[in-house]
Amino acid sequence: MAGYGLIRVGEHWNKSLRHLGAEVYLDLVSRVGEVKINKVYVSSLFAAESSHQYLFAPLLADHLGLEHVPATRVEAGDASGGIAVHEAFLSIKSGMFDSVLVIGAEKMTEHVASISTESRAKLLDSKYESPHGLTLAGTYALMMREYMDKYSVPREAFGMFSVEMHKNAVNNPYAQLRFPITLEKYFESPTTADPLKLYDCAPISDGAAALLLTSLDYGKEISDSLVEIKASSAATDNFSIIDRDSILELKSTSKALEEALSEAKVKRRNIDVLEIHDSFTIAAFLSLESLGFSQKGKTHELVLNNYFSKDSDLPVNPGGGLKARGHPMGATGVYQLVESYMQLTGEAGHFQVPDPKNILVQNMGGTGSITAVHILSRIE
């Protein structure tokens, strides 16, 4: 990873999807200069629905002035960003390309909330889940009820996780929800899909992020701040939750993690920061368990003991996570990786974690149908 471009996650009423993409490209160019780009991957989930645009990748390449450069859109639900970087990583590893640009861009605020809810419901099985009125939040609500019921988890553990994420986001200039919340405020928030409350859920967001991946040689030519992708893996699971033996196990995440650890030749204890897919607080709990950083049904004990807070030995989502940085679906994975790059190069400013060496990034699509896992390391 040789450079990045970012825009603050938020409600960008005055900016179109292409405008967001172009803005982060210009931000990237302001850091690394006009570099060679062999290929562009664009991760955008709702380009066709929110912006009525197929072929968004070639459109964006044209707007960026990247004449004749091949450009492809990657759609993997809200794991699109992580999967796009995975594909970019493979294309560099293949030896074909020296320099690949990934741009994640998403507009979720073009339509009223019920339409955005309907769009997100398309991340579920269109024959067995969404036709019954099930939503993405509703599916995580089913998981949360079963989890709370099975392990007798106190409700405030989920609240504390949300409080923690908001606290972290205050210091992240790119975060959407830069305000602290209290447990009281959490409990007072309206129910979206029982038992999920509003403050269990990531917000509706617009956003874009750019990341430049290069071979080591070309990277050294153009940048002084390089981060190594030690592992890039992806895995899938039974698509519908009705086909899973347990809805509390995210097997795409555990499988991708297993492969990433063996590819990177690192152990869990070598990981200094976790960047996880907390689209809902229950998603965070299940992710931490499926990644093997807490035991099944025990995450609440760790959360209530501040085990994952920013000043702990294992900070989770120091930039506020999906919960408070915001969750511009297709762009989210790129945000996660860019923020981790900033942590490893010491550019994270007020949300900097002291001296991290290895960061693990998990980006999940839908209800865990697909997961991308990256392990990033500082180049000494």
Partner: protein, 139 residues
């Protein structure tokens, strides 16, 4: 009003899927005997291609449930509504709405039975999708 083409129901799709929705038909692998509800051409367990239809019965229990307060556009009329993850007698799980009761009456482990209902209506085409919902078991 201009039709939002992305959201309009498809008549062929509703027709194609009606048999399973009307009769709660499931599937079983002839080789390993694994039952499942999601129609497939390859057994998810042993990868056999020999799959036959089975009846799943009309009774089950609530494994988990949620009450939807932020519905998709198409379901705003029903909101708030209850959705259950139902485990049927054969051991397979299905998603369906739970009706004829209040949210506070639903508990994990509640016994339910199938009820044939209108599942959704499409505003633009007038297309009605019928199918299974679940209600507390009537003795």
């Amino acid at each position: 009003m201009r039709k939002r083409w992305l959201l309009v129901a498809s008549a062929p799709q509703v027709w194609r899927e009606s048999k399973q929705r009307y009769k709660l038909i499931g599937f079983e692998c002839e080789n390993c005997k694994r039952p499942f509800f999601v129609e497939r051409v390859i057994c998810p367990n042993c990868k056999s291609r020999k799959i036959r239809e089975i009846r799943l019965g009309a009774e089950g229990t609530v494994e988990s449930f949620t009450v939807i307060f932020n519905p998709p556009k198409k379901f705003e009329y029903h909101s708030p509504y209850i959705i259950g993850l139902i485990k049927l007698k054969k051991g397979v799980k299905v998603i369906g709405q739970i009706v004829d009761c209040l949210p506070q009456e639903v508990k994990v482990g509640l016994e339910v039975e199938v009820s044939f209902r209108i599942v959704s209506k499409d505003e633009d085409t007038g297309l009605i999708m019928y199918g299974y919902k679940f209600r507390p078991k009537i003795y």
